[in-house]
Symmetry: C2
Subunit: 410 residues, 2 copies
């Protein structure tokens, strides 16, 4: 059988099939599993790329029934039952499709280079470069208008990624860089978070949204509600009628599913998500399961399941179980999501957590967030490195990966 994608869903599915009588080929176009919840920390110079990534084949090294292939899956043929990779076809009897999602610019793909999103390590390093270069250029800039634009950072989207990015940029400016420049005061930087809806973290209870807002304001972040982004041009973004001059614009507003879903020939929703059956299979193809950010499914109260690691992992294990049931000649069981809760961090000693009714804020939520994320990392090495760097940053207010690398200065 074939698994497409070595993210949270695909990897969990492969592991759940460890003792199953199947030969698994896992295909990913990257050699590494990425711990996306901490990607914003790479973008804000707190961690190095390798600290939150792990080679997929090394994670599955000990599992004899898995073969890992580095390859780009370009299409799926559900009739002939094979996937198409760059240099050939791979047949399958069962297929678990977990290819994830990328950014959606709501029909404005030209905004992509101007307002990069945060899905890959390359994007995270590019955003890090943009943030750090802006301060470097501001240090040399004599024109106050231009200097103000260099020191203005706009984050679009008030979900967890947007909140975490805005908080982290504000902390860089307020603490990490504060003593390093001679001509600018980095604490004068303007960080603006733009949310088209009425509140931040809409998946959280309202009280936690308000707290997140208060914590961001305490860090000096300006938050704009209720207005959509109407235009993005080099160095400026339009929010409603307001034009904000900003050298750094980060997109955290929307995702669209991997285009692979299209080749299945089944109904998709507006964002390209595959409308799957309750047992995670695809209508008309009980041998194909679609999971994670590619799949559209609603919970018992009719709300769509969020695009988070928890959903992908539980669906991965569930799809694996349904594969095993099919092999044993039994029927598939409908997926049930067990919501373990939501967390988002705003900054130092500041987070919000909604854990099955237990609502935490401030230091306690931040501690819970740190412990949960550190333990969720794969591998002792990454846990150790992340833990130590967090400890170091906590004690020194520093950010250890302040590298400007890459071809272009911007």
């Amino acid at each position: 059988m074939v698994i497409v994608g070595g993210g949270f869903g695909g990897l969990r599915a492969a592991k759940a099939l460890r003792d199953a009588p199947v030969q698994i080929t896992l295909v990913d176009r990257r050699n590494h599993h990425l711990f996306q919840p901490l990607l914003y920390q790479v973008a804000t110079a707190a961690l190095s790329p390798a600290d939150i990534a792990q080679p997929i084949r090394s994670v599955l090294r000990g599992q004899a029934n898995v073969e890992v292939i580095l390859g780009d899956v370009t299409a799926i043929d559900p009739v002939a039952r094979h996937i198409v990779v760059d240099d050939g076809q791979i047949p399958y009897d069962f297929l678990i499709l977990a290819a994830g999602a990328s950014h959606a610019y709501f029909g404005h793909d030209e905004w992509g280079p101007l307002a990069p999103g945060l899905k890959t390590l390359e994007e995270a390093v590019a955003i890090r470069r943009r943030i750090l270069t802006s301060f470097e250029e501001a240090e040399r800039q004599r024109d106050p208008t231009r200097r103000k634009a260099l020191m203005t950072f706009v984050v679009i989207g008030g979900g967890p990624t947007g909140v975490e990015m805005a908080g982290a940029i504000a902390e860089i400016a307020r603490f990490s860089l504060a003593r390093d420049f001679r001509h600018i005061d980095t604490r004068d930087a303007t960080v603006i978070l733009v949310e088209a809806g009425e509140r931040l973290l809409s998946a959280f209870p309202e009280r936690l949204s308000r707290r997140a807002l208060a914590d961001l304001k305490r860090l000096g972040v300006e938050v704009r509600f209720g207005l959509p982004v109407t235009a993005i041009a080099p160095g400026q973004v339009s929010v409603g009628d307001e034009v904000i001059a900003a050298n750094t614009i980060v997109w955290a507003a929307g995702v669209q599913a991997s285009p692979l879903g299209q080749s299945l020939g089944v109904p998709l929703d507006r964002a390209g998500l595959v409308l799957i059956n309750r047992d995670l299979s695809v209508p008309g193809h009980s041998e194909i399961f679609v999971i994670g950010d590619m799949a559209s499914l609603h919970d018992s109260r009719g709300r769509p399941l969020p695009g988070v690691a928890q959903v992908a992992m539980q669906q991965g294990a569930w799809a694996a179980a349904n594969v095993m049931r099919a092999i044993a000649g039994r029927g598939a069981r409908p997926f049930r999501y067990r919501d373990l809760g939501n967390m988002a961090t705003i900054g130092r000693n500041s987070a919000v957590a909604d854990l099955r009714g237990l609502r935490l804020t401030g230091f306690l939520a931040w501690l819970a967030w740190a412990v949960v994320h550190m333990l969720s990392l794969i591998g002792f090495r990454n846990r150790m490195l992340v833990g130590l760097q967090w400890l170091w940053s906590y004690l020194t207010f520093g950010r250890g990966a302040r590298l400007i690398t890459g071809a272009s200065p911007n």
Copy 2:
């Protein structure tokens, strides 16, 4: 006064002028100081870029008489006494030029993209990508000839960098990756080290060269002596009459000084190094000092000083002292190099060290190498991270930064 370059020489000069009555502008085109002796460990997936780099402005944060500028110095005008950066000129009364060196392909600049060298973090990450991608492609390659080329790695140059690269690649193949692939045995990889001279590590005593050769052979590295590289084409390198098919070719054979030396209008040697006076100043310009990899100077026995960190750092301190003497109205003193010794590591438990007569090999040399390099890193954070990752690698035989990142798959 102005210092060009935040490497070992420039940084040491700036620090030595901490209490001097001067206002220093340090210009570098990178925002970070790079600990180049460990760059090969980034190229071979043992360390992350940020582990061996430190923001220059954060290193000099506490020194009030220094201003750090991120900028590309394009020329020097020794008559008008200013340097030219991308967006203007910076005047100086004293100038310390420490802009380093890049690769020399001996008139074959077209070899550059085919056989990348190891001077910047970007180059190290590109070589890492090439090495790891070669194994990934070999895993999927059915043609045995092509597969053999994918698993052949040629390192050109038998100095410390070449020896360290060849040893590290052999260790990756023999240990780190050995259990991760299903269709190839990574231990079948061929690692070839090409040295045009008659022995490795020509700056070391002959006995240590022989030991390094024996240690490399024990790791399975093939070493070719006495023949120059005559041609490099995509996927192949010609050594004498032999044509070696190799997907990965690494250049560690020669350097040329920064082209900035040319704008001084003084004599240069063949590799573009500035022929400086014994007091490190430039003929005819007692206010300009050139140090480190840009400078050509011979020791008391007539041998050229090597392009190593020790020389650059001692010259940085010396140039700073001569600046202070000039300000005090005293004459400059001729530089005296204090050779603290040479070290090169071959692999696990294996290195050679020549420390002022004390010659070490094997485990002891390796331990000395590790301790000296860890302590030489700037900053507690980097020391801690490098030390822990080495400990982890030592215990597990693993390499923690096995990331394939970047735009192109090769």
